[in-house]
């Protein structure tokens, strides 16, 4: 078709027309076209088109270019804008400083929070096909309505699903030793305690593809008892030497098995909840005998769907599967078990409804992300408001300029462009300062949000983009209103009328100040409530004594079997008051929950209990109050014989849940769900907070353990005097008895307080942003008060001459602000009250922040802003009226 009537390339023609001098257009396009058709005849059409392009480009020579008279003029105008803008900035140095520094702080804050948010949202996205990977969740519904949601499932479920559901491409499981927070690796005579050690199926790296520095991810875990190390761990153990095929042992897991290193994962910036120090294989073999469909919900199970599979169709099949295999078992347990799916990329931020005790990695929270976004936006908004207020307040200074510009022929659009340009220019200036601020503040910010954010190749592109966008948006938000306002001045009026009052934006200014102030009130009362709650947590009686207790984790089988000797050795140290041990000391995660029911009731009424095995005088040492019965007697109560009930102590919550009368509790016999074992209550202890105050106190049952294998923590009560010295001595004893187990110690008080780390982080984040918000608001208020006092300087002078006192003038100047503040308080306090109630819902135990706290916040804000305003007002009120009146 084209061959019939080829024409020169249109784009080239347009280009030619664009740059070519008007008077040359005809002859040149004629010449080129003639050449084109000559080429079409002698060569191919394609060749002719290429030639046309070459010829066109060859016309880009100085003689042929269009000379824009208009553009030159605009350039001059632009230079004029720039010059006037700069002069204006220099003329009002204080105002410019407030504007630029406020915006710089706002932008810096925003950029930091953007970095944080991006990091939080980047989780799991690097795994190929991450949107097809799901985690199996389990919901257990007890007969009494109790519901627990777990992010784990029974081990048998994963493989069965893979076998029965054609939608699945692959499945893998992961188990972390729930009772031991650390796993110890031993290489020759050195041992390393690692927190994140998971045993996994051989298919693990098929779903979660990782880059390996050594070894092959395809085959690394195919053999049982292979181990894949993180790059950091490999370096810690082997230094620069290759790690492949070295042998390690895990005494926490098994004394005899040796693990062969088959891979080292490369260190990356990728974020995942699966951030193990090492993975070891052999899970299939370990889990093979566990065939229960009802209990044993401890395997993290991941499914990968086929690309065309529909997840909802898959979900529909789950209940039938559960019905088919686990119905009988569940009915016997008297509970319902529902399986669900959670998509991989939701694991990090959207898991708050799932059990938090055993989560892998550090769980984030989408609320936290929203909070960060809101704070960043608010602070930027406050800075923009300063800009708007100060610029419109100062607008009358530029009224004459507007008048002249309009008279000479400036369009309103030109003026808008001029003022928008000015504000974007100021925002760009602020951006440069903000970049320095971000760089300087990053380490502190990292501490604040407990992250390891850095600026590097992986995010520099994103960073530049977000900085530019934030800056432009800031410039636009803060510039839009002033530009519209200033450009609307009537040229005739502003030039004719010498004392023109341009106060039409008065109401808006007040509104914006009220908004700023309301935000400050909300943030200040917020931080007060958070502090109040943290104070409450730290001072609430926990039901046990945290003072002067050292916790020594018994991480290895070596340590727990040697516990008896260790105890005797430590006991003999001067300065040690007492030694005991348990499977779960307060603030450490529980082993497991099993259901118990009174022997005279049915299994359907079983209540889940946390089981804790304890050593002698556990309750005495931790000062846990006994309210009925007696303590364990060792070793008699620790012995178990067939047909003799095992002795047990329960807490008050347990009695309440099981409906046992307090008076009749001692001597009551309990049954263990699903078995015939009998337990006899010999004592009751008062409720105490085994876990953080986020959780309610749950039923617990304590058993005396003669066999120390159950113990995971040794608790040593020490004298406060010479504590350091005593600890050194304990370490010496430890090294002598259990040389292969790392000596780690933590004060019980520290361990308890660690449960509130995330609350403290939030508190720090809110505190930081509150301080910034208040500073920015005060800067703006100060600038405004300077301006308003200046504007009324003559009025004040005349008032003073007529006999007004300093006090009267002060009242006159501050009355305005007080009214605005009152409006802000009326809005701010209810909002902050509502918001803080929401936050407090996170705690099962919470203080009740009285209205006094909110009044205090309001008082603080009023005081700070009055002080800000007062300085300038006083200065104005104190000036000698002669000075202000005489000059005209």
């Amino acid at each position: 078709m084209k061959k019939h009537n080829p024409i020169p390339p249109l784009l080239a023609q347009r280009l030619l027309k664009f740059f070519l001098r008007q008077d040359l257009a005809e002859e040149v396009s004629g010449d080129l076209e003639e050449k084109f058709y000559a080429d079409v005849k002698s060569k191919t059409v394609f060749r002719a088109k290429i030639n046309y392009w070459i010829q066109t480009l060859n016309y880009m020579r100085p003689f042929a270019l269009r000379k824009e008279k208009v553009s030159l003029n605009q350039y001059d105008m632009f230079r004029n804008y720039l010059r006037v803008g700069m002069r204006n900035m220099l003329k009002n140095k204080a105002f410019s400083l407030i504007n630029v520094s406020g915006l710089a702080i706002g932008i810096a804050c925003c950029v930091l929070l953007t970095l944080f948010i991006q990091d939080e949202l980047s989780f799991e996205k690097h795994f190929t096909g991450y949107d097809r990977i799901y985690r199996v969740t389990t919901t257990l519904k007890a007969a009494n309505g109790n519901e627990s949601r777990l992010q784990r499932a029974s081990p048998v479920i994963g493989p069965t699903m893979l076998r029965e559901f054609p939608e699945l491409e692959n499945a893998t499981r992961l188990v972390k030793d729930l009772s031991a927070p650390h796993q110890v690796l031993v290489y020759h005579d050195r041992s390393f305690a690692e927190t994140r050690a998971y045993q996994v199926d051989s298919t693990f790296f098929d779903i979660f593809a990782c880059e390996f520095r050594e070894g092959n991810p395809r085959t690394a875990l195919k053999e049982p008892w292979s181990v894949v190390l993180s790059e950091d761990l490999a370096f810690k153990i082997f230094g620069d030497k290759p790690a492949l095929n070295e042998l390690l042992s895990i005494p926490t897991y098994s004394d005899s098995t040796l693990l062969r290193v088959t891979g080292v994962m490369r260190r990356t910036q990728n974020q995942s909840h699966l951030d193990a120090d090492f993975y070891f294989s052999g899970l299939e073999q370990v889990l093979e005998p566990i065939t229960t469909w009802a209990t044993g919900n401890f395997a993290f199970t991941y499914l990968k769907l086929k690309p065309d599979a529909d997840v909802n169709q898959l979900l529909d099949k789950f209940s039938a599967l559960m019905q088919k295999y686990g119905d009988e078992e569940n009915r016997a347990m008297g509970r319902q078990k529902i399986l669900g799916l959670q998509s991989l990329h939701e694991v990090h931020l959207h898991s708050s409804h799932l059990d938090s005790q055993f989560e892998l990695g550090t769980r984030g929270s989408i609320t936290y992300v929203y909070l960060a976004a809101a704070i960043g936006f608010l602070i930027l908004l406050l800075a923009a408001i300063n800009f708007i207020n100060l610029t419109t307040a100062k607008a009358s200074q530029r009224a004459r300029e507007i008048g002249v510009r309009k008279t000479v022929g400036a369009h309103r659009s030109n003026l808008i462009a001029q003022f928008m340009g000015e504000s974007i220019g100021i925002a760009l200036m602020a951006m440069l300062i903000a970049c320095v601020l971000v760089y300087a503040a990053l380490p502190y910010f990292n501490q604040l949000v407990q992250k390891d954010l850095s600026i590097g190749n992986h995010n520099v592109g994103f960073l530049v983009k977000s900085v530019l966008i934030i800056t432009l948006v800031t410039g636009l938000i803060s510039g839009a209103y002033p530009a519209l306002f200033i450009s609307s001045f009537d040229a005739v009026k502003v030039l004719k009328d010498k004392h023109l009052q341009l106060g039409s934006s008065h109401l808006l200014r007040k509104g914006l100040i009220a908004f700023q102030f309301a935000v400050s009130v909300i943030l200040v009362s917020g931080i007060l409530v958070v502090q109040h709650q943290l104070h409450y947590i730290q001072n609430k009686p926990l039901g046990f004594d945290v003072a002067d207790k050292v916790m020594l984790p018994l991480r290895t089988t070596e340590a727990s079997t040697q516990y008896a000797r260790l105890r005797e050795g430590v006991k003999n140290i001067a300065g040690v008051k007492a030694v005991t041990a348990s499977s779960n000391s307060p603030s450490t995660p529980p082993v497991s929950d099993w259901s118990f029911y009174p022997a005279d009731k049915t299994e359907a009424e079983a209540v889940a209990h946390y089981i804790v095995s304890v050593d002698e005088s556990y309750f005495d040492i931790l000062s846990i109050q006994k309210i009925a019965g007696r303590d364990f007697v060792f070793p008699a109560d620790g012995q178990s014989a067939p047909n003799v009930p095992q002795k047990a102590i329960v807490n008050r919550a347990s009695l309440k849940k099981m409906g046992i009368d307090f008076e009749q509790a001692v001597g009551m016999q309990l049954r263990f769900a699903n078995s015939n074992s009998l337990f006899e209550i010999i004592g009751v202890v008062e409720d105490f907070h085994q876990f953080s105050l986020h959780n309610t106190i749950t039923p617990m049952i304590f058993l005396a353990a003669n066999d120390s294998a159950a113990f995971r923590q040794m608790v040593v009560s020490i004298d406060r005097q010479n504590a350091e010295d005593t600890l050194t001595k304990i370490q010496t004893v430890w090294k002598a008895f259990v040389p292969d187990t790392p000596f780690e110690k933590e004060m019980l008080s520290d361990s308890v307080s660690r449960q509130y780390d995330s609350d403290r982080n939030m508190s720090a984040l809110v505190l930081g942003s509150t301080v910034l918000a208040v500073i920015i608001s005060c800067l703006g208020l100060y600038g405004l008060s300077v301006f308003l006092a200046e504007k009324r300087v003559k009025e004040i002078g005349i008032r003073k001459v007529m006999g007004a006192s300093v006090k009267q003038i002060l009242v006159m100047l501050t009355k305005e602000y007080l009214k605005t503040l009152a409006i802000a308080l009326v809005i701010g306090i209810p909002v902050s009250y509502f918001l803080m109630q929401q936050w407090l819902q996170n705690f099962a135990y919470r203080g009740t922040p009285g209205i006094g706290l909110f009044l205090l916040a309001a008082g603080l804000c009023v005081a700070v802003s009055l002080l800000t305003v007062l300085y300038e007002s006083l200065k104005a009120a104190w000036t000698n009226p002669v000075n202000s009146i005489k000059a005209e």
Binding site: E26, E27, V28, D31, L32, N58, F63
Partner: protein
């Protein structure tokens, strides 16, 4: 100040304008240049030189009549001015005098 010296390329172009007479417009000159010298040159480059020669006063130009080809667009026809002719002549005389001073070629020339 107007540059009045004549470069080699300029000289050739000027001569070609003289040779082509009525048909001397940029495209035709570029084609002729290629025909005569075997070197190809873009129309733009030719045009640029023509423009320069015109500024120097060696050429003058006016738009020709519209023809049916090339979309009815007119051509700019260049003609040599008296000054142009004189410069060409001077250039030739100068070169000839140089040739004559070069002993090796003396015989051939005469």
């Amino acid at each position: 100040m107007i540059e009045t010296r004549l470069g080699e390329f300029e000289e050739v172009i000027l001569l070609l304008v003289g040779i082509l007479g009525e048909g001397a417009y940029a495209y035709r000159i570029a084609e002729e240049f290629k025909g005569q010298t075997g070197r190809s040159v873009s129309i733009g480059a030719t045009h640029s030189t023509l423009d320069r020669l015109q500024t120097k006063g060696f050429l003058k130009s006016e738009m020709g009549n519209a023809t049916a080809e090339r979309g009815g667009r007119r051509k700019r026809i260049f003609t040599i001015t008296a000054l142009g002719k004189r410069v060409l002549r001077e250039s030739r005389d100068f070169k000839v005098s140089l040739w004559e001073q070069y002993p090796a070629f003396k015989v051939n020339i005469v």
